[in-house]
Amino acid sequence: MESRCPTNSVFNSQSSTRMQELDRAGMGSVRVTRKGNNVVVLEKDLATEQMILAMGPQHPSTHGVLKLECLTDGEVITEAVPYLGYLHRCFEKCCENVDYPAIVPYTDRLDYLAGMNSEFAYAIAVEKLLDVEIPRRVEFIRVIVAEMNRIASHLVAIGTYGIDLGAFTPFLFCFRDREIILSLLEWASGARMLYNYIWVGGLAYDIPSDFNRRVKEFVNYFRPKTVELYKLLTENEIFVKRTRGIGIMPADVAINYGWSGPMLRGSGVKWDLRRNDPYSIYPELDFAVPVPDGKVSDVGDCLSRHLVRALEMEESLKIIEQCIDKMPSAEGFNPRSAVPKRVRPKAGEVYGRAENPRGELGFYIQSDGKSTKPLRCKARSSCFVNLSAMKDLSKGQLIPDLVAIIGSIDIVLGEVDR
């Protein structure tokens, strides 16, 4: 007489609406037996239900004000939807109301961890529109500051990734070294994070006379520190266990999502705008584009993305050294010699892009040929595009893995929300 059946078939009248809902979802069942005309419940399954978990906007590991609305089944995430816009500052609308050079400070505030790179990308776009010739020394200085900022940005990415996985000390080691870069950049530009240093057509100032020597000192100091960081974090058994094989993104899907930067390279695609769409003096420089080979990590997983960042710092150091050696002398150099008095480009449109620490940052600028303000200035943000894969990546992961995946995407909400 014993039978196992859904609750509603036996207790249709008695069961609550909640129970009926659960039954429809196929959850919660009872084992019953009949004694005469009475139904006796022998065993009742614990009805489980999914829980909505709002992760963020105030959560330690959403790297700012990202909100992820997760549907969780225990610790397993069945679905995670990112909610954006907590840091929206109307970048594009602001740009339509100010002159071209006045947009530069706004670009600093996109990816505030790599202000120099954002300025660089914007300068490339407007210079393309204006078609101006840039002094060679300016290009070298631009590359040096941009690569230093890339190292600083990757240090933050690696350090916070350590925190996401519970290792606190690498974070402070990273910030100690980043501090040196920030003070060097402050020396050159006068600001620690929001520089307004790379102007359209040139630079705000020349670098201080002793700058190159100090940068070289930093490079020599930092080389052993990368090894230390590698030993402390990247080679750590627990770290590898937490990241290897987690959040795998195949190369073709990554390309379809429009991923760029370390994320795409982590999936095994050798794509770096400094090589594939060369700008500035990058073609003259010798550096490698690190791509995981699948030996220490599974291609496309969180560890690969972390490794790409760690190896890229080495390449940036190489670039900085070469730039210092090849840089033309400061004699008769005016950093503002090519800066136009009044930026009024011909009517037309342009898309300029550069390889930022987080991927491709592009500016699409439209000019009507009459105004000194752009008709339209759209920023193509790498973080935003990289984050769009969150829904795919998070399906079926555990909460700790979700944290690891968000950390490996390395988002800066300033650039996601703009």
Binding site: P60, G162, L165, T169, I238, F239, K241, I399, V403
Partner: protein, 372 residues
């Protein structure tokens, strides 16, 4: 002072002797038939417990982590920031005591209390020296293992009562973790108990005393003992929720785990309970495997180093030093290692530690039976 090299050896030995003489005089100090001397002796470890939680526990953790991370740590309050923890406690005392409106008030309030009691009850059976043990139970070790489980009730009450999803996650993880890790921990301690043939903490300690100092400790008495020693150390990290097993309060995942909603003094109580448990497990491991309050120094020839550095007050010194050493290792690990995942934690417990604990149990039994 005792550890610094001195020009001639008689100085520390003299001190040791006078300490012994002093404490023996105290034991015999019975004005009007009241054992006042014993009370004073007993008060020393109790004062220590309070001071330890305030100073070494929290302040030490901050300083040690600071030195590991190229920082200075607290420097403002008092010389080298020594009074920082007291200032923090004073600040926490002044905080508004918030109970969330949707919380289960009874559970929310009772949670930290249960946690605190659970963590400090085990101190009752810890022998701090030959003269001091709160309650000399003949099942002391069993009591210590069992009473820690009360903490689970406190954690679950705190996590469930908070009515916060993160707290609930933290509480469920914590309970699963502590209940699982109690098994390898208990089996590992059982190996020590087997070697002693008793569960009485005081007797376990006494069995490890002798003129060769550390050579009498259970860890060095049998070649197998290092296995349960390591297993218990790893399992105790998980039991007190320390890194790399700080999964219940994983700040990057669960905000703050089961105490997300706690503020003010309730938060401080949870915090102190954690540091209390840290010393408790460190003391247990040093009692069972490292001789408790026995001096590790051996007699060298005619130098009766061991006898001179043993005594009721020396006992307090040695067990505290041994405890501090393990606390230091716990902090060292915490500031070096990342955190394991929940399933990896359970894998480690059930598939690695528990089988090895059984192996060490059997091997120790063979050793105890067949090797005199």
């Amino acid at each position: 002072m005792i550890l610094t090299p001195l020009p001639h050896i008689s100085m520390p030995l003299l001190m040791g002797n006078s300490l012994n003489a002093w404490s023996e005089a105290l034991v015999g100090f019975n004005p009007m038939g009241l054992p006042l001397g014993l009370v004073i002796l007993a008060a020393i470890p109790l004062v220590f417990i309070a001071l330890y939680s305030l100073t070494y526990g929290v302040y030490g953790e901050r300083k040690i982590s600071a030195f590991m991370q190229d920082r200075l740590g607290p420097m403002e309050v008092g010389k080298w920031g020594i009074l920082q923890t007291i200032a923090d406690i004073l600040k926490l005392l002044q905080k508004e005591d918030i109970v969330p409106t949707s919380a289960d008030k009874f559970l929310f309030v009772i949670g930290p209390g249960v946690l605190f009691v659970g963590s400090f009850l085990a101190y009752a059976v810890l022998p701090f020296s030959s003269a001091f043990i709160g309650a000399s139970l003949n099942v002391g070790l069993f009591f210590a293992i069992g009473i820690v489980a009360i903490e689970v009730v406190g954690i679950l009450a705190a996590g469930w009562g908070s009515n916060n999803k993160w707290s609930l996650y933290g509480a469920v993880r914590s309970v699963a973790q502590i209940v699982s890790y109690e098994i390898p921990a208990a089996i590992a301690l059982l190996c020590g108990a087997m070697m002693a043939g008793t569960l009485d903490m005081q007797k376990i300690t006494m069995l490890q005393s002798g003129s060769y100092g550390f050579a009498h400790f259970f860890l060095f008495q049998s070649p197998i003992a290092w296995l349960p020693f390591l297993i218990y150390f790893i399992a105790s990290l998980a039991e007190v929720n320390r890194a790399p097993f700080d999964i219940p309060e994983a700040e990057s995942e669960l905000v703050a785990g089961y105490f997300t909603e706690y503020t003010g003094m309730k938060f401080a109580v949870i915090f102190l309970a954690e540091y209390g448990s840290m010393f408790m497990v460190s003391a247990i491991i040093s009692i069972v495997f490292l001789g408790g309050w026995n001096s590790p120094l051996p007699d060298i020839g005619s130098f009766a180093l061991n006898a001179w550095t043993n005594g009721p007050l020396w006992g307090v010194f040695w067990i505290i030093m041994k405890g501090f050493f393990f606390i230091f290792v716990q902090m060292w690990l915490r500031w070096t290692l990342p955190r394991l995942r929940v399933d990896q934690l359970m894998y480690l417990c059930w598939k690695v530690l528990t089988p090895f604990a059984f192996v060490s149990f059997v091997l120790t039994a063979i050793w105890v039976i067949y090797v005199p």
